[in-house]
């Protein structure tokens, strides 16, 4: 703000009388990290950030900033510093912190049911170690389903999300149907909202199923890895053309239930790395307005020797950046398609509200954001811990629906101990990381890859990936070009 000499001959006081004294400001808690060779990013615990160079960072910390400078105003506005004229800073910080963490008071929202572990696809990267479609003893019984529903309605969450995972849930549509009908009935008497999603390869879609989904307001989430050849290499089936079935299913759902009732995500394999634009184009071909670009998870068949290591984090980041860049260009041209990973990170960076994404919050959302009911009644605090269990490690199992109580499981040492090790505010390395407010812990992944829930961050693939993503997205935002406008649009 420029001072105004015109006010001299008036009853008004000049700006100088309101400016804080030089060097009189106090630093508020913040972290910083290098953004690139010349810039630093500063973040505070409510997730506000500022990008500046080393010289200004030093000037700020040494209390040499001029009170009438733009950087001073920015740092004050975003609560990196405060001065005598601004005691309300603490009220605002407290409000912002409460707002960011509000999802914690909602407690568990997402409840995943595994009606069967059987599947008619034979994806070589299957992370849940699926069973053949004719296998026995891996379907959910009605008794287990019933106890799962009971468990779900024990959650205090006002908006519940019910997700069917597999295996292929539609192989046991009768169980899906039972759970949905029972849940909808309880909602009516309970006054609660439940969003229901079926995660399916869509190969078994029928008119009967679609009628049921329309009646009960169900949505679908499916896997589409890219063009026909890539998809079928990644997700083969002995019984049918996997690509053909999935795409036909997408078309049917869009026609019958509406375009917003089916979404898709892709899993990156070594074969995907060279085809970022082709993959995105495939999503356009299917009329999908969103894509989730995911790296492979090191569980199940995907953890077989040679598969996880088949590409490095750097290679995946390169692939991701090329795909994201292409998606942004499409949006600049007016073609609306949104990348969900970036959208999630953007919400973490730019929105005053929290996100209930299990792996990207502190404490981690295991159990307190999501819970999985396996076909056999075992309860896991995340899908990844179920995947681990299918590999023979029951480390994170918090009990069984048929034998344990809600309180017993949610207050089990297994869960509480794990959660308490996921507070990135006090985890070694995370505690000093400039991206701490945006990141999370992913305890299961660190346990799986490094044998420790906390993990060792300097070699952590999770850590490298997210540092890369945060740096990339902030760099785009800082350029203030049409690309940053596209990203801002994804906040809505």
């Amino acid at each position: 703000m420029s001072a105004s000499s015109d006010l001299r001959h008036s009853p008004f006081k000049p700006l100088a009388e309101f400016l804080p004294q030089i060097g009189s400001y106090s630093l508020l808690p913040f972290r910083f990290i290098k953004l690139d060779d010349s810039r630093y990013i500063l973040t505070n615990f409510v997730g506000e950030y500022i990008v500046t160079d080393r010289e200004n960072l030093a000037r700020f910390v040494n209390k040499d900033l001029a009170p009438d400078s733009e950087l001073y105003a920015q740092l004050k506005s975003r609560h990196f510093l405060t001065d005598s004229s601004h005691s309300a800073a603490f009220h605002l910080l407290a409000t912002k912190y409460r707002t960011k963490q509000q999802h914690l008071s909602e407690f568990t929202g997402l409840h995943m049911f595994v009606p069967t572990l059987r599947c008619n696809n034979s994806c070589w990267y299957c992370q849940v170690s699926r069973k053949n479609s004719t296998a026995e003893g891996c379907d959910m019984t009605q008794a287990v389903a019933e106890r799962g529903i009971e468990f779900m309605f024990n959650s205090p969450s006002t908006v519940l999300k019910l997700e069917f995972q597999g295996g292929e849930p539609l192989l046991r549509f009768d169980i899906v149907k039972y759970i949905v009908e029972k849940t909808r009935e309880l909602c009516r008497t309970n006054g609660r909202a439940v969003n229901i999603v079926i995660c399916s390869n869509l190969s078994l879609l029928s008119d009967e199923i679609l009628d049921f989904c329309e009646l009960h307001d169900l949505s679908f989430s499916t896997s589409l890895d890219g063009p026909r050849e890539l998809h079928n290499v990644n997700r083969p089936s002995r019984e049918f053309d996997s690509y053909e079935r999935t795409c036909a299913g997408i078309v049917r759902i869009r026609e019958r239930l509406g375009v917003e009732r089916v979404s898709a995500l892709m899993t990156t394999t070594r074969h995907s790395l060279s085809q970022p634009t082709e993959i995105v184009d495939e999503y356009l071909r299917q009329g999908l307005a969103s894509i989730f670009l995911r790296p492979i998870n090191p569980y199940g068949f995907a953890s077989s020797p040679g598969i996880v290591t088949s590409y490095s984090t750097a290679e995946w980041l390169e692939f991701y950046k090329r795909a994201l860049d292409y998606i942004i260009q499409l949006n600049v041209k007016g073609i609306r398609i949104r990348e969900e990973y970036a959208a999630l990170l953007l919400r973490r960076m730019l929105s005053p509200y929290g996100t209930g994404f299990v792996d990207l919050q502190s404490p981690a959302g295991i159990g307190i954001s999501a819970v999985v009911f396996n076909h056999d009644g075992n309860v896991y605090p995340s899908d990844e811990s179920r995947m681990l269990a299918e590999m023979g490690d029951q480390r994170f199992c918090i009990g069984n629906l048929l034998s344990d109580s809600y309180r017993g499981m949610m207050l089990s040492d297994t869960l509480i101990d794990s959660i308490s090790q996921t507070m990135t505010e006090c985890v070694p390395c995370c505690v000093d990381c400039g991206f701490q407010p945006y990141c999370g812990a992913d305890p299961i992944r660190h346990y799986r890859l490094q044998g420790d829930i906390v993990g060792y961050k300097p070699t952590s693939e999770f850590c490298q990936r997210h540092l890369g993503l945060f740096r990339h997205i902030i760099s785009i935002l800082e350029e203030q070009s049409t690309a940053s406008e596209v990203l801002m649009n994804w906040l809505q």
Binding site: F12, K13, L15, A88, T95
Partner: protein, 387 residues
């Protein structure tokens, strides 16, 4: 349109409020709080009205008494009609139109006193704090049409009235339950949580408090309102209102002093006050202090288009409603037209020569009568109305 004028008659009585009626056959029970407006000569005035407004030259057929005064209406107020409400001050002859039944929007000044001293105040505060504005509004509320769409309480600073303001809000709810109530306050006294709680307890069905923040940093805001600590008090007030579940609108007048930081301001609101039900960017009304400080304050809207667009865009991407007031459509970017409101009251608003033949005139807020001399160089007649 003139809202206040003087009658030629003076007499000794306390100020009073009357509703205008033109109906000679008005039911008697209603007459006691009404003034009969007689437009032509009349053989015998019907008895029982609180007062009589005469527009004809010979308006004195009825004997003038303190209890039933006969008041010659100045020509400027001949437009008065059924249901309008007028404040009469007998000792000075002041007649002030408080309420117009046919107006979409009525605004009541509750006090002239203020605890801030804003550089751009359009209604500079008076030194003597005691006035009877609030009491007269309180008297007028039961006389207003129950279908009145919208009422604004303004000042001065309405919260200086304390309990009296709370009672006026209650009165609005009880007598005009379908009327939206907008209160324009600097929010500083609402730093006391009990004030917000008292307002919230009334449970007014449609209440918004419009609170100005002229910057996102305290020293800049405090300078503009010329009061140390004002920003912090206003912010605490806003948080208290939100905490009590009351709706808050944030208002900012764009001046040379703050136009460059609009983007920073928008980001501040999105992060800190995301519960705001509306954020209003207002053009400067060059009257009062704004006129004397014009050199310090004036910036042509044509020169801050980029900043305003960026600020609106940030708020919109955070799903916070935005409005733009007091900007002629030709002075802002077409992509901002959908945020522009016809915000200038119909009795203040005018158009100038350059507006001749403009296709968007019926959608435009026009000018303050006071800004004929001070307007943007971008003013021109446009060929296409807003879609």
């Amino acid at each position: 349109m003139i809202l206040s004028d003087k009658t030629t008659r003076r007499w000794n009585a306390t100020p009073f409020v009357v509703r205008v009626s033109t109906d000679l056959l008005r039911p008697e029970p209603l007459r006691t709080s009404e003034a009969l407006l007689v437009r032509s000569e009349c053989r015998a005035y019907p008895p029982g009205f609180r007062a009589y407004f005469g527009t004809a030259t010979a308006s004195s057929e009825l004997p003038h008494t303190v209890d039933t005064p006969v008041i010659p209406l100045p020509e400027s107020l001949f437009y008065l009609g059924d249901g309008d409400i007028v404040v009469v001050r007998p000792t000075t002859g002041d007649l002030r139109v408080l309420y117009r039944r046919t107006a979409r929007h009525n605004s009541f000044l509750l006090t002239q006193a203020c605890n801030s001293f804003c550089l751009m105040c359009a209604q500079p505060p008076t030194k003597h704090a005691a006035d009877d504005c609030a009491d007269l509004v309180g008297e007028a509320i039961p006389l207003m049409d129950i279908n009145t769409p919208e009422v604004t309480f303004t000042g001065g600073e309405p919260t200086l009235l304390g309990r009296k303001l709370v009672e006026l809000i209650r009165r609005m709810k009880n007598f005009l339950p379908h009327t939206s109530l907008h209160i324009l306050s600097n929010g500083r006294l609402i730093k006391f949580l009990t004030f917000a709680q008292d307002i919230a307890e009334i449970c007014h069905p449609d209440l918004v408090l419009g609170i100005p923040l002229y910057s996102d940093v305290s020293h800049e805001h405090d300078f503009i309102v010329q009061a140390n600590g004002a920003f912090d008090e206003a912010v605490k007030g806003i948080l208290n209102l939100a905490r009590c579940g009351l709706r808050v609108e944030i208002r900012l007048v764009i001046t040379r002093l703050n136009y460059k930081s609009l983007q920073r301001f928008a980001r501040f609101v999105a992060r800190n006050l995301p519960f705001s039900c509306n954020v209003v960017f207002m053009g400067l009304e060059p009257v009062g202090f704004a006129k004397s400080n014009l050199a310090t304050l004036w910036i042509d809207p044509a020169d801050y288009g980029e900043y305003l667009a960026a600020a609106v865009w940030i708020l919109e991407s955070h799903r916070i409603p935005v409005s733009i007031y007091n900007h002629q459509l030709c002075t802002i970017r077409p992509e901002l037209w959908r945020f522009a409101r016809q915000s200038i009251s119909d009795w203040k608003n005018i158009f100038i020569g350059a507006c001749e033949g403009c296709a968007a005139r019926h959608q435009c807020c026009g000018f303050f009568a006071s800004s004929v001399d001070t307007h943007s160089r971008a003013i021109k007649s446009v060929a296409q109305p807003c879609s």
